[in-house]
């Protein structure tokens, strides 16, 4: 039914999307801490899922379903940052500090780490002093 070219394009989308889904999963396992893992899951959400939906769009042909799938992609892209930001903020509020590379740990061990931690704490407190976490 669908022309061969369109079918091949949608196959390409499926393969790329599937590969990126696996990539996101591998990243989730390989990355060292919570915040870097959010970046890995971003690959699945922002490119893999739209590619898969794009592949489906090619197969449905021009119909109302195409528009619906497009809406799904738009909602996916609109809600992803909200969820990622909410998770990151919740982790920070819960006292989780981002892992900032092996450099801090290898250098002077405890001391280097401590300094870094205090610096972050100071900056965060200054930030809170300005008194806002809203988007104004």
């Amino acid at each position: 039914m669908t022309p061969l070219v369109v079918e091949l394009v949608s196959d390409l989308f499926f393969i790329a999307g599937g590969f990126l889904c696996v990539t996101g999963g591998v990243g989730l396992l390989r990355f060292p801490d919570f915040f870097t893992r959010i970046h890995a899951s971003g690959v699945t959400e922002t490119l893999a899922a739209p590619l898969l939906l794009g592949g489906v769009m090619c197969r449905t042909g021009w119909s109302l379903d195409t528009a619906k799938l497009l809406l799904v992609i738009i909602f996916l892209l609109a809600t992803n940052p909200t969820a990622a930001h909410a998770m990151a903020r919740a982790a920070l509020q819960g006292g989780l500090k981002p892992w900032l590379g092996a450099a801090g740990e290898e250098g002077n061990g405890e001391q280097g780490n401590g300094e870094q931690g205090n610096g972050e704490q100071g900056r965060r407190d200054a930030g809170e002093g300005e008194g806002s976490s809203s988007l104004r």
Binding site: G27, F35, G42, L47, P81, R124, E130, R136
Partner: protein, 155 residues
């Protein structure tokens, strides 16, 4: 202009989702659009924030550019994931933000988070705190092309 524009948008949204064009369903769509509009008017008495952003050509151009940069940064992050030496160097530091209007700031913060490899953790009056997967991604943000594009939208 505000309420009619929302009514039209809601009704088009209903049409796309329902896919039935017989009189009964068109009437149901109109009723539910009006019901939502009625609720919205009541809620606007409490919250008068600018809730409706009219679509402008500039916004679509920005969206296209944003999609392209999402693709680019996805490829970058995917490469880092598959590289056996795992070449990541996470950064977490403030980024100066000169945008002042709420919509522009929200758009900027969300655009940063949408691109994999960069993540907005906090929003403060003069700066955002950004968590980055690599120094290069942070430098690209500090170079400021995304912010310039949003400023050009005039929001």
């Amino acid at each position: 202009m505000y309420y009619p524009a929302i009514a039209v948008t809601l009704y088009l949204f209903w049409l796309v989702l329902s896919g039935h064009f017989s009189g009964f369903f068109l009437l149901l769509g109109a009723i539910s659009s009006l019901l939502v509009l009625f609720c919205l008017r009541r809620m606007d008495r409490v919250d008068r924030s600018p809730g409706f952003v009219p679509p402008a050509p500039g916004l679509f151009a920005y969206g296209a550019w944003l999609l392209w940069s999402v693709v680019r940064s996805n490829i970058d992050v995917a490469r880092r994931i598959w590289d056996p030496s795992l070449p990541i160097d996470p950064q977490w530091r403030p980024l100066k933000v000169a945008l002042t209007k709420p919509f522009g700031r929200a758009l900027y913060a969300n655009s940063i988070t949408l691109t994999p490899g960069t993540l907005t953790t906090d929003v403060h009056p003069g700066h955002f705190n950004i968590h980055c997967l690599s120094e290069a991604a942070m430098e690209e943000l500090e170079e400021g092309e995304m912010e310039r594009r949003i400023r050009r939208l005039g929001r």
